[in-house]
Amino acid sequence: MIHLGTEPLDVSAIMKHASDVTNGAIVTFLGTTRNHSEGRQVLRLEYEAYEPMARQELQKIVQAVERKWGLRHISIAHRFGNVELGEASLVVAVGSAHRAESFAACQFIVDNIKKTVPIWKKEIFADGEAWVGI
């Protein structure tokens, strides 16, 4: 399942899509808004997405996981718009028969999202703001 939206993410619902009675493990990752960045205090994050392409690139990552590990119970949700401190902008849940595959696949998904998916993050500080990656 792939979900993109501005509303707070429902972690249980996202995990449910990765669960199946054939799985002995579900690994879930949450990317959350941290209150500091390079010594500066962060008030919140703002995410922007090129939605149609982001969906396609997420789909490609899911297909890569299917080819690499044979896993089919994969759930990715990314929020855009404002994400407050402690809230999740990204939830990835992967189910597998044994835990090694879902740990590895979850890391692979998160690492690749940050490389290829057209979603950008802006840090809002008390005294300014900056796009991450620039």
């Binding site: 995410y47 922007e48 396609q56 057209p118 950008w120």
Partner: protein
């Protein structure tokens, strides 16, 4: 031929718009388009093209030939974070 350019994040802030139409010669490549954009829209970054470009939602090489009506997105660096 007319191409739609889409800008996001840092590039949208620099250009002051999220989208504009541009007329390029028939058979123009992505590289030709980027050169033309940099000449016409001086506020966009002039750095050597570490910029990623997508044509109709797919990443494209600089040699990719454009066709009428293509949607070209200029993709600034994606939100990295450290592992």
């Amino acid at each position: 031929m007319w191409i739609t350019i889409k800008l996001f994040a840092y590039y949208r802030d620099l250009a002051g718009t999220s989208s504009f139409a541009i007329n390029v010669p028939v058979n123009a490549t992505v590289s030709d388009l980027c050169t033309q954009i940099r000449q016409q829209y001086h506020r966009l970054p002039k750095e050597p093209y570490s910029l990623l470009v997508a044509v109709n939602h797919e990443y494209a090489e600089t040699s990719h030939r454009l066709v009428e009506g293509d949607e070209v997105a200029l993709i600034p660096p994606v939100s990295g974070g450290s592992a």
